[in-house]
Symmetry: C2
Subunit: 463 residues, 2 copies
């Protein structure tokens, strides 16, 4: 319960203009991008200085107030849905790029920096920050680290985890902890930076990051391959990797998604195709030529009816616009869009596609599937209406089966969307009780009052 006295303390800490308790503000921060029930916080605060962020953490801990820190709230697992009546702390004012070191190839940033803005900033200096989650235009780097965000380029370049060299974070007492560093190699102490990644705000509050940058590729080439059969497309993905080609991006769209995207923006997509692969290879110009030629011939060997190679940047943009359109186009079809990210080893994609097809038929649901085929990270997207209780019940059963199938194929509950509130009940199926108990022990000593983003990942704790 946020008393007037507590509200005053927050106002003293972050300034009166940065404390919100109006109904409309509380409502605004009661949800994120997951399809879950809204939960109203008791107060929303927005520190402008990182010292104040530490003070907010301490104030919450001293008073046993549950704290959820959030940036843009684009996560799809309820990782930033607050505790009822708890504190929401916005990082949006902590948005400074503190350093870009062009000699040593790293940057130092605050957690509230927008991902795409940061990528553009370093691109202007001739450098690349590869992680490119779908929400990059609005997501913050803090959220990316908290969820270990992936993206389209993960196949070749890896995910957020692979670019975090250091994390400074506040522990629950508001003490600043430094971990990792600016050197390529660093083994001093526990890998707390690694532990912070994907911990969804449950073990500490990020103050700043040291992020790795890389030289951008000298050349790239995008292409679109059209398949009359989903299984052939899936097999082409496996064959590309088996031929030791690692494309920067290797994306999949099924027929339903293709048709929906074409309906959304007339771009001349092959609406009769069972599936499309959208592929980009990058690197040295000669390598790009060689890889593109090999990819084209592998797709044709796997019965692609056409492979269109983008001739210029405009054509390349058209390829990626189609991919970017997938989610907004699907989301228009029905009132509720459930975007899943159960992930399998890439050789199991054909089996996963078959399973998805069966599940859709069994429950009579519309599932459009697209996603990152190259790393086995598909996004089966269920189009439904949550208000239709009968259908929603079928959706829940279908989701259960999708997870069971992914795990049976040696995969994971979540490739890049996180566990949050949405998937914590499934954790034991993948990790087993022992891993959860080990994690709970850690949590219990690092956050003894259980104030840091309660309920996320590990479910309700007894603490």
């Amino acid at each position: 319960m946020i008393t007037d006295a507590l509200k005053k303390e927050f106002e003293t800490t972050v300034g009166k203009d940065n404390v919100m308790t109006d109904a409309v503000d509380l409502h605004s921060y009661s949800y994120d991008s997951a399809v879950l029930e809204q939960i109203q916080p008791g107060i929303v605060v927005r520190p402008e200085q990182s010292e104040d962020l530490g003070k907010v953490v301490k104030l919450c801990n001293d008073n046993g107030l549950k704290l959820t820190v959030r940036g843009a709230g684009t996560n799809l697992s309820g990782g930033t849905i607050p505790h009822p009546g708890g504190v929401v702390c916005l990082t949006t004012a902590l948005d400074k790029i503190l350093e870009v070191n062009e000699e040593d190839l790293y940057a130092v940033v605050q957690p509230g920096v927008i991902t795409a803005k940061f990528a553009a900033h370093v691109a202007a200096k001739g450098l690349l920050y590869p992680p490119d989650p779908g929400s990059q235009a609005v997501s913050t780097l803090g959220g990316n680290v908290a969820e270990n965000a992936g993206g389209l380029r993960a196949l070749k370049y890896g995910v957020t985890k692979d670019y975090v060299m250091g994390v400074d974070f506040f522990d629950v007492n508001g003490e600043l902890i430094r971990t990792g560093g600016k050197t390529v190699k660093c083994v001093t102490g526990y890998n707390l930076a690694g532990l912070m990644i994907a911990s969804e705000g449950t073990l500490g509050v990020f103050e700043k990051f040291i992020l790795k940058l890389v030289p951008p590729p000298a050349a790239y080439k995008a292409m679109m391959a059209v398949f009359p059969d989903v299984m052939d497309a899936s097999r082409a993905v496996a064959a590309i990797i088996a031929n030791k080609i690692v494309p920067a991006t290797l994306e999949f769209m099924d027929n339903f998604t293709i048709r929906t995207v074409e309906n959304f923006r007339k771009a001349g997509l092959p609406v009769d195709a069972a599936a499309m692969l959208l592929i980009e290879v990058d690197g040295h110009p000669t390598q790009v030529e060689d890889d593109a030629a090999k990819v084209e011939s592998i797709c044709k060997e796997h019965k692609a009816t056409s492979v269109r190679v983008a001739k210029d940047d405009a054509e390349r943009n058209a390829v990626w616009q189609a991919r970017r359109d997938a989610l907004p186009a699907l989301a228009r079809v029905r009132p509720t869009t459930v975007l899943e990210d159960a992930t399998v080893p890439r050789s199991k994609i054909p089996a996963m596609m078959e399973a998805l097809d069966k599940i859709a038929k069994k429950y009579d649901l519309t599932i459009g599937t697209f996603g990152h085929a190259g790393d086995g990270n598909l996004h089966p997207t269920i189009l439904t209406d949550k208000r239709d209780k009968k259908e929603w019940h079928k959706v829940e059963s279908a989701i259960d089966e999708i997870f069971d199938e992914a795990l049976a194929l040696g995969g994971t509950l979540s490739g890049e969307h996180g566990i949050g509130l949405a998937k914590s009940k499934y954790m034991k199926n993948e990790c087993g009780i022992a891993a959860i108990e080990y994690s709970r022990k850690m949590k219990s000593v690092l956050d003894p009052k259980g104030i840091l983003n309660p309920g996320k990942i590990l479910g309700p704790l007894l603490a």
Copy 2:
């Protein structure tokens, strides 16, 4: 204290032939590759089955016996020096490569697999396991993960951490915990696999690993650039990176090291050179040609007197033999070899080289410096005699100053050798008290009796 009854229990668990208490065996496992005092364990055990490894852990915890798990003991920081009278558990019999998945590019291995043997095994299948620590011919993968081993290829390919997809480990109660997985993307639960890396056996005992494999480069080219001035060589390193070239390997040797190596094996090295850079670029054949030409011209711009490009595999091997000879050659000169690995952001190498020169002069010590210039990870190697108390005192002061200098330049105490016993007292200078306290809290709840490799990283605990 290992009683007869306890010895019997160990014998029942791992078999009589796998339990050692003879003086000669206890002596054999009383040290590792660090220059530290020997400490005798009370018993040495060698489980042949991974279930038995879990039972050994439980037996130790139930009886409050301090446990140090080790492979080849090649670490340079005392990470595998046992507790006085404690238990040493060898992983050398747990040496199976359980799976190599050529479609999904991963392998599953037990901790006792020898690094080079594993690399050769996957190479025979046309795949690359990049981490190549100097001790790879004898080191185990378990030790590599426990220390987050680096190596020569880290500049382009990263360190052990970058290839660990999953870790199964026993907690202190002998419960098996699974973390990470076989998919390229995985964000299910805390990144416990990441936490295990570099934790030096203090948080759990490794049962198996899932390791990432990559396609090997299609071509490579090695070269040797000779400089009449150390600073010019250092600046050439920075210029290569600033030109957005990322060599697979970019190694440095100073004049003292060059002369010592030439003395060790007559190979025609330039004994008058102030410094040499040993460089390998790899990738697509055309890229290799382009990069090699650029590297050559950058070295010449920075006053290299000669750049020799290896014409064939024999010449390439000669380049790398010289680098591999550095440590054994230096180690012959005096009775005691102190191999340091204080690491700086790579642009600070010239400053670090100047500092090392000053420190050597100040204390009148012989320091040969070689190492991984490309990632700022130099190995200043002090040649001394530990029995000479007066000189040893100077060596200790010099080491203190080397660490101070590395930290002042934004670097780290250890790039790849670990903290172990040797550097735990310096931890607070880099990480601060808060990070150590945070780590100690974790340790205290995950290992309440403090049996897991006590004293390493965090120093003596009160527990």
